[in-house]
Amino acid sequence: MSLLLQILLTFSILSLLAVGGANAVLPEMHRQVVELRGWLDDATFAQLYALAQAAPGPNILVASVMGWRIAGVAGMAMATLGMLAPAAVLAWGMAGLTHRLRGAPWLKPAQAGLVPVAIGLILAAGITMAQAAHSHGVPMLLIVAASTLFVWRTDRSPLWVLAGGGIIGALLL
């Protein structure tokens, strides 16, 4: 099997395991890409992960960067397609299913039941990010707290706090 097909297949499987997003599947990605296939070494894997974090957007795109490193532009295309397509098809199917069942009396409560889990995991992502920020010094926690209050209590664009955070970071660090 050609390398590109292997990349497509490997990331397609990872896509279906990624309940909770990229961070959930990172250990398995490491096992596949570094330990089983030997496409990347440990240090490169870590560096590419950091590289993907520097870009905006869903961090599932870490797969794209890995694909790039393994087989250039075509590798990037295959890894991205593999990582996105299976999950997107499932989401499409789920949207159709909920639409078809929309009259069912149990559907709304069942869907409502997923909401606290989703919000809890968003909160967890924020706490994890705050812990990472803390490692750069206690003042960083003040930025976290101020930004939390701003986004929670106002309806203004979060762009203001991100810009403010960048400026304070440049002044303090």
Partner: protein, 198 residues
């Protein structure tokens, strides 16, 4: 019949608006794309109510893949079928992919990224607050029941403090949470409390 009958306070986007808005979400989504997606869709564009968006995001959460990416597929489909799903998906990934290609080229050439660390760290700290603030805001606006709040806190604790695998957390807490919500609904019984849903 359109899939989405807009309530008075929400509006249905056109195809171009769908794409451009998701393009913006992808471009702005440093660190916390979930926070940006919610801000733009619920507060800025008013495509969906807080509750509708939270429910779509909840479904996106239990499916594999990024919750916001899954939500983009479902929201795109809701407004414009297959075209909408493709447009929303293309929009959310287009800008980040282009930026990633740029970063990869820099990385290939220099072996490391240019040092703008302090600014990035300040932005990352603010992004952490943005994500936490979004979770607080959704919670306070949705007026969750006590048991739902408990599940929310358990999920956060399990993921952020105990560092349990996310699939495990979802697999355990989602059925419990759904059971609680169904029980509430049954207790509410024939009370016309759900009649507000038009």
């Amino acid at each position: 019949m359109p899939a989405a009958t807009a309530t008075p306070e929400t509006r249905i986007p056109g195809r171009i608006e769908l794409f451009l808005t998701y393009l913006k979400i992808g471009l702005l989504g440093f660190g916390g794309v979930a926070a940006w997606a919610r801000h733009v869709i619920v507060e800025e564009r008013r495509w969906l109510t807080e509750r509708d968006y939270a429910q779509i995001l909840g479904l996106g959460q239990v499916l594999p893949g990024p919750n916001v990416g899954n939500a983009a597929v479902m929201i795109g489909r809701r407004f414009h079928g297959l075209t909408g799903a493709l447009l929303a998906t293309a929009g959310i990934y287009a800008a980040p992919l282009c930026i990633l290609v740029g970063l990869c080229l820099l990385y290939d050439r220099y072996g490391q990224l240019p040092q703008v660390a302090p600014v990035m760290e300040g932005i990352a700290a603010a992004a952490a607050g943005m994500v936490i603030g979004t979770a607080f805001k959704m919670t306070s606006r949705l007026k969750l029941e006590p048991e739902a709040l408990l599940i929310l806190l358990l999920a956060a604790l399990a993921a952020a403090m105990l560092r349990l695998p996310l699939p495990l957390i979802v697999l355990v807490l989602a059925p419990v949470s759904i059971a609680c919500a169904l029980r509430r609904a049954r207790q509410a019984g024939e009370e016309p409390s759900g009649a507000r849903t038009r």
